[in-house]
Symmetry: C2
């Protein structure tokens, strides 16, 4: 037990980048929330909301190609764009027409799916986005374990949007007396979220990734990804496949 | 050149933990500011203000013991306490009586001296603390290079006090038009500093390391470390020795 633990209160820790995961992942008995707001985890939530049956996250393009050769529908994104030769990327809007309903699809992204891969030995790995915030917080509280809010970042760098979301979750669950053992990173993320929540779009105006998406004309995706509670599904990792908690 | 660079504006990036150093250290042609507010870099600034001639930072206790056997005065801190058998720890107040005036001393600490070791291939490595904030910012502006504000953290974890100070520096230098290319981490640190600057002591009340120091009755150190501009010396790494910029 770390020196910060107190009694039976659960730890709530924000991991600001995949490079920091080893410094925080002390025990498998925890709930890890993988966060990649622009856009992998927002897209995964949208996929389940649109009726996808299962989603296999893979870290490398090699694995993605392998699944494609087996006949799967495979999405691949690198540097915010669809990789040529694949079926889709990580735009959440790409799932809204329900074309993958009932399917088990495969996805690899620059940061998000690597983070899922790193976290997979944890007792529970779930997928979070502003679009399923409330359902996610309810799920975390029911699990009643220490919580690691794992920001996928951008190529191991800190990013604002993932941290903002981690702050939103940390603030919401820490209203519950069982989740009040906050790390320094959680305090910082909550602080940032409180300063930004009234206009996240504006707050993120100067962020590196919003600028990147803006250059690629993905403003519509950005607005979608910052709109709260569009889904009550919590995607949960089950072995190597992500499934809906409602199934 | 990274995609965030624009024209001749210098990058200002905050590195929130030593584990993130590789993700930000893209070129040696930069100024690295090593930050370990509680208490290594505050102590190093205090040492030079008290007249120390040189300070050799070493990462391991083995190296520290080696210097001690050669007759040096050696400080060693681990987990916020003086290591038994050494001459002093990393309390800045330990230097105020001027007992090491004119000496070249050796210091190893839990986080700060390791960060100095990691950074040492950079063109310029300097030591920052609230106690030399203004002098440090002037020095950075004169150097006119990209700036990495390198938080030593706590055993690779994010901490609030180092990030607050990085925010203070980023905010101050970004008033200068030449230093306005801010990373997401700099934006977050500035935001945090602006919310906390009117009462940093209170803001840090819940921080992990302030609690740790409080248990060890080091509140006086904490207050010293949060008091701005007590020194106009900028400690600068010169080979393996830190020296004063005023020499």
């Amino acid at each position: 037990m770390s020196e910060e633990s107190s009694g039976n209160t659960k730890k709530v820790e924000v991991i600001l980048s995949p490079a920091l995961f080893p410094a925080y992942f002390e025990s498998k008995d925890c709930t890890v929330v993988v966060i990649d707001i622009f856009r992998a985890t927002s897209a995964i939530c949208a996929a389940f909301e649109s009726g996808v049956e299962g989603l296999i996250p893979v870290a490398t393009l090699e694995e993605a190609i392998d699944y494609k050769s087996k006949g799967y529908l495979v999405g691949a994104e690198r540097n915010a764009e669809v990789v040529p030769g694949f079926d889709f990327g990580n735009s959440p809007l790409g799932f809204k027409d329900g074309q993958f309903k009932g399917e088990t699809i495969v996805l690899t992204t620059t940061n998000g799916t690597k983070a899922i891969e790193m976290a997979k030995s944890a007792a529970k790995v779930i997928v979070g986005a502003f679009t399923n915030l409330s359902a996610l917080c309810d799920y975390i509280e029911k699990e009643d374990k220490d919580v690691l809010l794992f920001c996928a970042g951008w190529k191991d760098r800190f990013n604002l949007e993932d941290t903002l979301f981690a702050g939103a979750v940390a603030q919401k669950i820490s209203q519950n007396l069982r989740f009040q053992n906050l790390s320094d990173s959680s305090i910082a993320a909550i602080n940032m979220y409180n300063g930004a929540k009234d206009d996240m779009y504006k707050f993120l105006g100067e962020s590196s990734h919003r600028k990147r998406l803006s250059r690629l004309n993905m403003e519509e995706d950005v607005i979608y990804c910052l709109t709260l509670d569009q889904s009550n599904i919590v995607p949960v990792l089950d072995g190597n496949v992500i499934v809906s908690d409602k199934k």
